[in-house]
């Protein structure tokens, strides 16, 4: 089984660790597959504007540089640790109300997707790029003032676009996902080194991007594990 984490932030957005060091932290710990998913924040809200002001988001301007950097590090990770690194983003639609907010992981993204567009546009654009769409932390999280509940509350409308749901995020587990029998993965939502020790995904598939995406989509040979050092 491949030990995987598909939700990782670096200093490109609000993570506290440089991309290269993040790769090394996961490589040194024996991971097989990771995805780098820095925030792409909507700029049409007060919270979004704040993220742009303080450089806590990938923008259309630095998106290509970001992807190139991730690809460069992916090659190094493969050569050194035999670890597969998938470029991705976390499209973050942030509003004051938890009911209006949603975060979406786009794995294996190729081109910039504007976060202010509608959900349908974002999902279809991701599909066009043959990227994987994951709804992250879709339910109430312990200790969070602001949650991201929009996709869960509108699952009947958007469920068809979503390839998998985060059933566990860092230390939280969302049992509603398993009750609904939705496809699932578990991630750390890594922002700092201590987040390494959290929920992870185990995949029973080959170690290449297409196999990984297929395994998540079909949701066969998927398990979750609580990774403790």
């Amino acid at each position: 089984m491949l030990l995987c984490d598909f939700h990782i932030h670096t200093k490109y957005s609000d993570g506290s660790v440089e991309l290269r060091k993040v790769i090394d932290i996961f490589g040194q710990a024996g991971f097989d597959v990771i995805a780098i998913t820095d925030h792409v924040v909507n700029g049409d809200s007060m919270i979004g504007k704040f993220a742009y002001q303080f450089g806590l988001t990938i923008t259309e301007k630095n998106f290509n540089e970001y992807i190139e950097h991730v690809k460069y590090e992916a090659e190094r990770a493969w050569n050194k640790y035999e670890m597969l690194v998938i470029p991705g983003v976390e499209i973050s639609k942030n509003y004051v109300s938890s009911e209006k907010s949603a975060h979406i992981l786009i794995l294996d993204i190729k081109e910039f997707i504007p976060p202010c567009e509608s959900y349908e546009f974002i999902f279809l654009e991701a599909k066009k790029q043959n990227a994987l769409v994951i709804a992250c932390h879709p339910h109430q999280m312990k200790g969070e003032i602001r949650n991201t509940l929009y996709l869960w509350n509108n699952r009947d409308k958007y469920g068809k676009y979503i390839d998998a749901w985060e059933i566990a995020n860092r230390d939280d587990v969302f049992s509603v996902i398993s009750l609904m029998k939705y496809p699932y993965i578990a991630n750390s939502d890594f922002h700092k080194p201590s987040h390494l020790y959290s929920w992870k995904t185990l995949l029973n598939c080959d170690k290449n991007i297409e196999s990984v995406k297929k395994c998540i989509k079909l949701n066969k040979g998927v398990a979750i594990t609580l990774f403790r050092g």
Partner: protein
Amino acid sequence: MILWLLIGLISMSLMVYALQIMALRKKIRENYTAIELPPVSIIKPLKGIDDNLFDNLESFCRQDYPKYELILSLQHKDDPAYRVAEKIRNKYPNIVKIVVDNSHKALNPKVKNMIQAYEISSYDYFLISDSNVFVEPDYLRKTVAAMSKDTGLVTNLIMGVGGKSLGAKLENLQLNSFIILSVCFLDKFLRMPCSIGKSMLMRKKDFEEIGGFNSVKDVLAEDYIIGKLMHEKGKKVVLCSHVIKNVNEYWSIKRFFNRHTRWAKIRWKIAGLKYFTEPLGNPVFISSFLPLLDGFSRISIIGVLTVMSLKVMFDLYVSRIIKSEIGLSSILIPFKDLLTAFMWFIPLFNCKINWRDNLYTIGRNTIIMPYEKGKSIRLIFNKLKAAFAS
């Protein structure tokens, strides 16, 4: 009068510290020439993910040495370190072996982890090495070179590197000052056998003569006991001048606190009354009594600041000798010294040890027993009951 006594103590403490630095300088200059390079089995017990684990293990696969094997030993396949061990074995299949075994009985988890690896090891020379150690390619060659005919054990100096979090920075400052200096001082001036578990090279014949792992399976400081038994057998315990790196990047303060209270408890149980001389190596702590005795006067504050500055300069000099980079972390030195002074008191009141999620009670010569909650209260109660009954 007391004030003058304190000033005398501070001066003495600074002198002791200077002597320790002298011991380190002498030690670092030592050189050895290898007469032969026998094959070596390196035994590496693994448990959990250490900072830099992959690179640490790989550094042992890149030794400039003619013939050796690396045995990675774990107790369970579901240990997170197993994946890293497998990756290393796949990369260096001719050097690396993995042993998973939990069948042997030993209270010391590290010893328990190594027994099977020792049994399957191929060569007469074997080296015990911790998983959090990174070495340069000439490490094995230089360490073996320090092994003469009458030597029973070769151990290495350690320095902390890579500190990124506050806890890791404190850890590395402590390793690169108090720990490395005390070890050199004991070795050079007091001629005491000093063995460090992070790297211990021995011959199987000598090791079995002192009882092998059986003699250390239920003690916490297996490294110290092995060194002591070798010394008692008339074999030399050599502290090799080659410095190995202990990589500590993302430690929490809690972890730093846990390790150094554990080590303090070991020193208390080994040294007994000599433990009370230890604060002499901490001038910052002794100088902190100045304002208490003299009030927070200008002179006492200047006194404390002077001692702190001197201590920082001393530690910067030590870092130059061992080629470590302290940088801005040096401002933490006084804080670290006061924190470790506080930790020094803990063993006097508490003998509970938490080591890699195992809880023990530590006794004389670091003999360990599984910790039971309320055991000490029960013991007192039983003694009182017995006293009344008699």
